[in-house]
């Protein structure tokens, strides 16, 4: 009773200080926390993985219909990139917005530098990349490209890599010196629409919309040379609008292969991770959207595009065969594994729910109410490249 009164008194005494922008925050280890985008309400649901429960909500983030986020190295802050050009910094411990800038018009995607000091945001309007101080959100660099800019990722040694839809070039912006240094790599191909970086920060791959195939760059090279790979990839795209092309973060390393959604077909491709040639295909329930490797790579979990988007299939990495099918509910938008692969959390947008599955047994072990959930982002991403 005395302790309760003490806590209440402390809350009252400290509250004015908290509103004045102090650093006080509830005690929390951050290693098992996460944020889930609630795409229709401009909010983030704060979750605790160990509790399998929501622990709060952060509101006021604007248009999150296509949003992603990255974490600071200490896991305390998330930088949220909204479709409307909003860049919002949130504190996962106080569950508050600590900074927000409207940094451009139509915008998609961002990244944090490996040392956690810079935030880069790509935009379609006016076209380019802007770089902000992660502490203050002050803009420190503006890189106009004259082109819709896609495929922005972080790379080792304080670099950002991004690609120009119109010009078919990839630019490498190096912030390790006193002034930013830009290396331009032409010849990426016709209308690159998305790109990814492999988990080791070495191979950058851009998908092409204007022609078949993808283009790979080895970022260990001083001046990377574009290399065409998977020449048949994209054959299924005739008549597809560009927003129906597969997300390239759908690539996943599983065993000795990458797995990649096929284009306009109900298949995933298996690709040798060393020479980037196709090795096999697996027929799937629908057009794959995300093919995500369970940590350890033993299985790959795949979700699908509308209208077959109530289903997930699990594919065995060695046999390449579908070994399980789940039907969580209407509009399965995203999946996120716990860092060591024990569970997978699934956004079921039109059921206002996030389902939790045991990744080994496929048993459903929990669910959390959420408002039109889309992307799920666990704090362990703070320690990975390209995420």
């Amino acid at each position: 009773m005395i302790r309760f009164a003490a806590l209440a008194l402390c809350a009252a005494l400290l509250a004015p200080a908290a509103h004045a922008g102090s650093q006080e925050a509830p005690c929390c280890a951050t290693g098992d926390l996460g944020l889930i985008v609630e795409r229709a309400s401009g909010s983030l649901l704060v979750v605790d993985q160990s509790e399998r429960a929501a622990i709060g909500r952060i509101e006021g983030l604007g248009d999150l219909s296509h949003a992603s986020l990255v974490y600071s190295p200490d896991e305390r802050f998330a930088f949220v990139f909204g479709r409307d050009g909003g860049l919002t910094k949130v504190d996962i411990l106080t569950q508050k917005i600590t900074g927000r800038v409207m940094q451009a018009g139509n915008s998609i995607g961002g990244a944090i530098s490996d040392d956690g000091t810079l935030i880069a945001v790509a935009n379609y309007e006016p076209g380019g990349v802007r770089v902000f101080d992660a502490g203050t959100l002050e803009m420190v660099a503006d890189i106009p490209t004259g082109s819709k800019t896609i495929g922005l990722v972080d790379a080792p040694d304080r670099r950002f890599v991004f690609t120009l839809w119109d010009a078919g070039e990839t630019w490498i912006a190096d912030f390790s010196g006193d002034a930013p240094k830009i290396t331009k790599v032409p010849g990426i191909g016709k209308n690159p629409y998305d790109a990814l970086i492999a988990a080791d920060g070495r191979t950058y791959i851009a998908g092409l919309f204007g022609e078949d195939g993808l283009t790979a760059l080895d970022l260990w090279d001083e001046t990377p040379e574009p290399r065409r790979i998977l020449p048949g990839y994209g054959k299924g795209r005739e008549g597809l609008p560009v927003y129906k092309m597969p997300h390239l973060e759908g690539w996943a390393l599983a065993g000795e292969e990458f797995v990649l959604p096929a284009v306009g077909q109900h298949e995933v491709l298996w690709v040798d991770a060393r020479d980037l040639t196709e090795t096999a295909r697996t027929k799937t329930h629908g057009q794959p959207v995300f093919a995500m490797s369970r940590p350890g790579g033993r299985q790959v979990w795949v979700n699908f595009a509308h209208p077959l988007n109530d289903t997930i299939q699990v594919i065995d990495t060695r046999s390449h065969e579908v070994i399980h099918e789940l039907t969580p509910g209407p509009a399965v938008l995203h999946m996120e594994f716990t860092a060591r692969g024990t569970e997978v959390w699934v956004s079921v947008r039109d059921a206002d729910r996030v389902d939790i599955y045991d990744a080994a047994t496929f048993e459903k072990i929990g669910e959390i109410a959420a408002k039109s959930p889309s992307g799920i982002f666990f704090t362990a991403r703070a320690h990975r490249m390209g995420l």
Copy 2:
């Protein structure tokens, strides 16, 4: 002034509750914290990576002359395995010991299950593995092996894998069902002295002291078959006591190869990560102890055995050439990279110091006083297999 008084009052009011074992703890994001073993004083130094500073010390952990630790999934707790058989649970936020058992005699090494619920500890005396509940430290399983037990690691799906020096067998203990299930794999070889698991949790490799070579197991197989690899490995061991054999956590994946300390020679070996055959060797300053891949794999940092243990060499992964040499000071025992490879922290035991280097420029950017530091463990390990 009022806020300071409020905080002081809160500390006074809450203090009795804290001593009574409450959950209150100072606010702290845990993503950039770490623990450094102080091997001569039975203590752990608590460090903050972003601050590049010590923030506390935890004492009373007994004999830490050969100690390692693992983290809970939320990063809040560390489980410390001491040479004297002590298993100590510490809370990194309150900087206190929350549990401690003397679980055996002479003991070395432990692991945490992928779901964070079980702690396994190997021991030489009486010989075997004991498994404890991570919450309460109550023993839940006792697996006598009749042999000095080495190479204990966690593997996906709630398994532990360990090897028997005397019998030349590897046992896989599966805790995913109601009762533990043990699979014994004979024919590992003569006197396996250490083992490791690759970062994807798939390949387990035991080093042999009684003969040349190592033995690999593919843990994706229902019943793994031992496979001999690197038949020349160990030729340099004649006359070497077993404790001078290389640490097998010295293996590191860099690009498409593993890098491994040679035995009794001043070299590291490069090993193709796919077929586990030797591809190259690099001559080094001394007998390598740890060869650690910088996250991303671009370079490998190597430290050395006494008496050449004041030096570190940096080897380029692509050229296999030594590109830099540093001399931090007397008795460089351990190196730990920040999770995305921006910095490397180095224990300099006989200078009572931990040095911090920029991993890209090799510039020294900080140092922290520490008492006979050895192992450095950052919280990001919570999210990795086999660590």
